[in-house]
Amino acid sequence: MNPIGEMVAAKEIVVCAGSGGVGKTTTAAAIALRAALQGKRAAVLTIDPARRLATSLGLKELSNEPSKVSKRKLTTAGLEPGGELYALMLDTKTTFDEVVLRYAPTREQAERIISNRFYRNISGTLSGTQEYMAMEKLYELHADGGFDLVVIDTPPTRNALDFLDAPKRLTDFFESRLLRWFLLPYMKAGGGIMRVANVAATTFLHAMKRVVGGDVLQDTAEFFRNLEGMYDGFKQRAGDVSALLQSRSTSFVIVTSPAEESVAEATFFATRLNQAGLPFGALVVNRVHPRIGDGIGVKPRQLSKLEAGGDRARLLAKLLDNEDAFMRLVHLEEKNLNALARKIPRHRWVRVPYLEQEAVDIKGLAAIADQLFDTA
């Protein structure tokens, strides 16, 4: 069994990470599909608004709740599903609302929060929210969804660090004593700025009021007031999520292409996983150009001589020139990948060659799954 096969056999959660445009979503979907064919009840949770994934699975659209890929769709594609395949797309805001409803002591308090203008803004835009909610959803699917395997592709974060630290960053934000302290005059007086002894707080409020207006501060203070008493719940859940990610049930897949930038990202991510004590499962290297032969090494002088010749000589010149360009590229890619091999041992790698077609339907996804699971 190759590293991906081993992972799917033994794990309950697979997290796919990597830089943009390397095939994270497709990899995640292909892994879930194969697991379903093997008899598991599998779900793929995508963060990208990937309509193509929905279409390729024969679903009209993906929502925040699992949609089942019909058995007929799978059998029509010539597959024999022993299990079930579900797909869903993260809706950050809805998930956040559910979190608030879960942790608020009363329904009224939850509704006050959900209708608060400041909350409505943060639930979509605060940095780290999407990452946190992705983890929240993952936890929920794993704990209550009855799935044998949940595969998730990570948000397109600027870097791996953002994603791993998100739950903690968001809870820190809510909990920040500093912020609440700065808002204190608003929280107490519920209105105008009181004369507080602290100059910094006054300066801060003064500046805020000039830039965004007083009512924004009002909403904000109210939000924090309503949030009192919920911090422990948030914190506990963030702790649970992080424990789940570090547990034996979880495994991380790093997806990369051989391009310098995405290899750098993959290397960085591997280091971070290691530091954070998170379980690494496999590296998927997509889009590697094939290596054919050892390189002919045509010289420019030889090329120009051939170009001056007859039809066949000119054809040969073009072929040699093309071979030379590909060989150069193959060498560069190998150089990048060798650097990566110093970080991630090659027996954890799965190389997926360029495929003839992109995965536009279940058949295409199944072809990718074959490559992912069956290459040694």
Partner: protein, 357 residues
């Protein structure tokens, strides 16, 4: 584009004729570079920074002072020019090309200093957590602050009081999905902030963004399923919802044609009859000795290129069909990590393509 009368007609029907771009289809580079602010965006991994850097070279070669702006991230732009990281204040990356990294916290701090002479508050606001807080309280404020800095640059002003006149400002914008939110921020903010000077200032930003002589967006795509679909959606939203003018779409990493149809036939004919035997005499004449594996490589790579190219051409066709903008092709560069010479090559191609259109 001149040759494609059908498309000109379609664009005119789409009500786009009043834009300077379309009145003169034989655009020249100077027209191409007319708006001072050129925003480059596209799906993650399509080569936005590469295109932004190449555009910068094209402009610099025309003697323009160019400023390339990264927005709130450490990107690959400075590396393309062989330099280190970018700062909030412009630094020269190569002759005629400056670079900045616009961080929202710095922009907020500068804004408070310049607008309100609030030096102490400016200092507090440089902490990331406060910016998170403030920009969360008023959604879009982060983006508006960044756009505000771009406006400062466009107006030839800088926070430090040093005049900084740039002829061209190229924005290496956030990935397509976020780009729309980014450009929509000024109009969005006025809903959240009902008072204060920032309200008036967002109008200045909207003026800048929606004036085709001042701002133009270039989308970058790859000839693949997802990037094409996303480019078309973004392009539609830009013109229909945001009313921001667009320039040609750059289709990046396009494999160039290797063999003509006749040559392709010739290759398949000799490949069927023992390629090595047929090509060896020619190779020997220039001092090359090919073996069977070499012959496999020659045919294998030619076929690989041709099959990738066929796939790409399909998506290029879909891209051309779906957009009213000209599509300029940038070549695949056989490089697994780009550097300045590659950018120079792309700039050459850009010039050539623009002159041809």
């Amino acid at each position: 584009m001149v040759a494609d009368a059908g498309r000109c007609l379609r664009r005119r029907r789409a009500g786009l004729y009043d834009r300077p771009w379309d009145m003169n289809p034989e655009m020249l580079i100077d027209e191409f570079l007319e708006p001072k602010v050129l925003i480059v965006s596209g799906k993650g991994g399509v080569g936005k920074s590469t295109v932004a850097a190449s555009l910068a070279l094209v402009a610099a070669r025309r003697g323009r002072r160019v400023c390339v702006a990264e927005v709130d991230r450490r990107g690959t732009l400075p590396k393309l020019f062989g330099g280190g990281g970018l700062a909030y204040e412009p630094s020269e990356l190569s002759p005629g090309v400056w670079g900045v990294n616009i961080l929202p916290e710095e922009a907020l701090s500068e804004y408070l200093r310049v607008q309100y002479r609030m030096h102490r508050a400016a200092k507090i606001f440089r902490s990331g957590q406060f910016v998170d807080f403030v920009t969360t309280a008023a959604p879009g404020l982060k983006d508006v602050l960044v756009l505000g800095k771009i406006w400062y640059l466009e107006q030839g002003r800088s926070g430090t009081g040093r005049p900084q006149d740039f002829d061209t400002i190229i924005v290496d914008a956030p990935a397509a999905g976020h780009m729309l939110t980014f450009l929509q921020a000024p109009s969005g903010l006025s809903d959240a902030v009902r008072v204060g000077p920032i309200r008036r200032q967002t109008d200045w930003l909207i003026d800048m963004l929606t004036d085709p002589r001042r701002t133009r967006v270039h989308l970058v795509a790859l000839a693949e399923e997802m990037p094409v679909v996303e480019t078309l959606e973004t392009s539609g939203a830009l013109s229909q919802k945001l009313h921001i003018s667009q320039g040609p779409v750059f289709a990046n990493s396009i494999y160039s044609e290797l063999l003509t149809a006749a040559e392709e036939e010739q290759l398949e004919a000799i490949a069927a009859n023992g390629l090595l035997r047929k090509l060896q005499p020619e190779a020997k004449r220039v001092g090359l000795n090919l073996d069977a594996e070499d012959a496999d490589a020659l045919v294998g790579y030619a076929r690989f290129l041709s099959s990738r190219r066929t796939i790409q051409q399909g998506y290029l066709k879909a891209l051309r069909k779906g957009t009213t903008q000209p599509v300029l092709e940038l070549p695949f560069l056989f490089s697994a990590g780009l550097a300045l010479p590659d950018i120079e090559t792309l700039a050459d191609v850009m010039e050539e393509q623009v002159e041809k259109t």
